[in-house]
Amino acid sequence: MKLFRPWLITFLIAPVLVFASETRTIELPDGDMMDMRVVKPESGSANAMILGFPCDQGMRQVELRMSEQIAEQNIEVWMADLLGSHFLPSEASSMRNLTGEEVLALIEDAHEQTGKRVYLVTAGFGAIPVLRGAKEWVDKYQGTEKEKVVAGAILLYPELNASEPEPGVAMQYMSITSQTSIPVYILQPENTPARWWLDQLKTELEKGGAQVTIDILPKVRGYFFMRPNATEHEKSVSHVLPQIVVNAMNQMNTAQE
């Protein structure tokens, strides 16, 4: 049993860890405190970082694990749970009601601390506050060097509909959809009704000037990386999802060079 003393585990694991993680607490504009999970590569890092937000289902181990896998590729990742920090219920309406103020504050803090360009990453209804925050950044720093600090948003199955679907009734998007000007990279699972409407979503996003790239993830469903009933294929795609996000980031970086 002595073999399993904690110091020994630390010793055994230490050589393979290529990142360090810490909790950073910041004060939000409304006075609430928010804990950020900061995962830094041990040996230097790229000049761009990821500011990640869980979807409307809240922060779970899977997002934290993915942030570590991304950090292993020398990319610094900050993760913030927008709903959890306010004890808001895990549902779409909570995300719809969030302004972009908090995301703006987090971008400010992340850029101030690291000096890096920021890629925003989220899933589902998380796209709403994330795009709102990005717009607030662009509005605030338009025409300055800081305008391009927000390098883009990588959105997994973005849910930008303004209300729940009604049979036979055209979808209305949240107004932020057509007010977005930062580059957007959509990772859309094939097995979702929304994949049939990507051309409409792209058109709506482009109205605000956003450059939109769409990548279909074959044979997976929405929320695939957190489904208890995930198929074997969904599990295998979940394993490579951090790499898919990094590839999207690299592609957006190259396009902007």
Binding site: P165, M171, N191
Partner: protein
């Protein structure tokens, strides 16, 4: 702790799926939708106009959608209940190939309640778009005159007394 988190998340997903299953047939609010022509699993062409004079249940589904799969046996029981009346069920599959659908139909879970109604193939999503389908399952009820009377997003127990009463009312008109 990890196991507890997994359990809680499973419960959340179950509640979410449950909320999708708690659909309710409501009067249709949208505009009239266009006729369509689609082939079924046997290659037979179906046009909605062919069904004038019948009450039609049109269901949009996919094999990967759990609430869609869950409601299918009850849809078959509803079809069986009105087998001798002018009532027809059409299940429009969204974008999957015939082999995938056939594998689903041959699966153990579907062997318990084999489906006798037509499964139509909307391979390129054209009908999904013209009928403005944004979520699965989505189902419509159409009266004998070809008017859409009810719509529903989410699953339903189609042989429940409430759903049967709506179909009976449409058949009586």
């Amino acid at each position: 702790m990890k196991r507890l988190s997994a359990l809680l998340f499973s419960l959340l997903i179950a509640l979410y799926a449950g909320s999708l299953m708690a659909g309710e047939l409501k009067p249709y609010k949208g505009k009239p939708l266009p006729d369509f022509s689609l082939v079924d699993m046997n290659g037979k062409q179906h046009s909605l106009a062919d069904y004038k004079g019948k009450v039609v249940l049109i269901n949009f589904w996919a094999t990967w959608c759990p609430p869609c799969v869950k409601e299918m046996p009850s849809m078959q029981r509803l079809q069986d209940k009105f087998a001798d009346q002018p009532f027809e069920t059409l299940a429009v599959n969204m974008g999957e190939d015939k082999a995938t659908i056939q594998e689903f139909l041959d699966s153990d879970q579907m062997k318990k309640t084999p489906l006798s109604f037509s499964i139509l193939l909307d391979s390129d999503g054209a009908v999904l778009k013209s009928w403005k389908i944004f979520a699965f399952p989505t189902t419509f009820l159409i009266d004998k005159e070809g008017n859409i009377t009810h719509g529903l997003f989410g699953g339903l127990e189609w042989d429940s007394p409430e759903a049967v009463a709506v179909v009976e009312e449409l058949l009586a008109k």
